[in-house]
Amino acid sequence: MSSVALQQGSHSPAPTVAQTLMQRETRVTYGEVPKALSGEPIGETSWQLQGDRFLLRGEGHHYFHYRKGHGITVERGPDADLSEESLWLNGSVYSAIASLNGLVPIHASAVAHGGRVFAFSAPAAGGKSTLAAALAGYGLPLFCDDTLVLDLSDPDQVLCLPGHKRLKLRPDAIELTGATPEEPVSKAVDKYYASPAAGDVGVALPIAELIFLEEGPNLEIEPINGAQRMVRLRGDHPAADLFAAAQHFDRAAHFAHLHRLASQIKMARLERPRDRSRFTESVALAAQYVVNGGQR
């Protein structure tokens, strides 16, 4: 994937503390790992979190263990599906490491414009990667695919870490968006890695807006106000559960966390028909909204 420099000059900005931390903490070594963190041996495709450690088991005997300050250890059993390894590492393992280090993973794909991040959230297969990729047609570079990691260390703003995952698209989405297909993602997934047509962004940027994609008869963007913003965040994604578990939140602390995010992140809902014939129109609406800086 190519990177698009957002700032003039010959030097890229130095990585933020959070970016450096994630680079350091996601180093991978191979070896034996514990098979349980909390008593019961871990089952296939499940995770356990205990203190500063995280254990995930993929299909078969494929284990991923993380301990804060020690990076990731992967144990590959004879039946491990290696084509899935990077998906686990970049998915739940990455989200858990972010969470254990105070960074907030949310389920969203995003583009950048004007030095800020416009993120699109939707359930799995809800079209967020396809929309973000299609916005490249309006010159909007990809910021992240599928998972957006938020850095809350500055009390005055919410900073976003640039995406760590390569863009993944279904064959029909590649055709719709004009992205360049590369190799298949894995044996089990009918998706391809792809290069976004407008490149991507490699620097941390503040968030401009979180836009929830919804299916419906109308094509419109409406703001989300008040308590609805907290409710939307609460229903996010398994990544939200990981963060709550990693931070040992009780209900009051979780409420305070959601309130901080809702206070600092502008939100909207984009309703659109899931009708291929109206895809271009819905991308145009989203692009206009982003280019106008979040104004309808």
Partner: protein, 88 residues
């Protein structure tokens, strides 16, 4: 009448835009209070009974006392039903 008292250990709350968001701590249920409801909630501070609450709101809003009283009574029923307000 007795002063109206919130059950403070049972919820947490925060302002967001023009709303007050209240969450019950026992089950995580959210409530959103806006407009008159938010004003009523703010005025329930352990020092006012229902009559004083209605009087304060009537003065603030310049509305008919009967209209305000109806709003207050409706919200007080909801707050008691949800366990956020102590019974008289």
């Amino acid at each position: 009448m007795n002063a109206l008292v919130k059950r403070n250990g049972r919820f947490t709350e925060a302002d967001l835009d023009d709303e007050i968001v209240v969450m019950r701590l026992d089950n995580g249920e959210f409530f959103s209070l806006s407009g008159t409801s938010a004003a009523i909630w703010r005025l329930i501070d352990g020092s006012r009974d229902r009559r004083a609450l209605v009087a304060a709101l009537t003065a603030d809003y310049g509305a008919e006392e009967s209209e305000i009283a109806a709003d207050v009574d409706a919200l007080l029923v909801q707050l008691r039903d949800t366990g956020l307000l102590a019974d008289d």
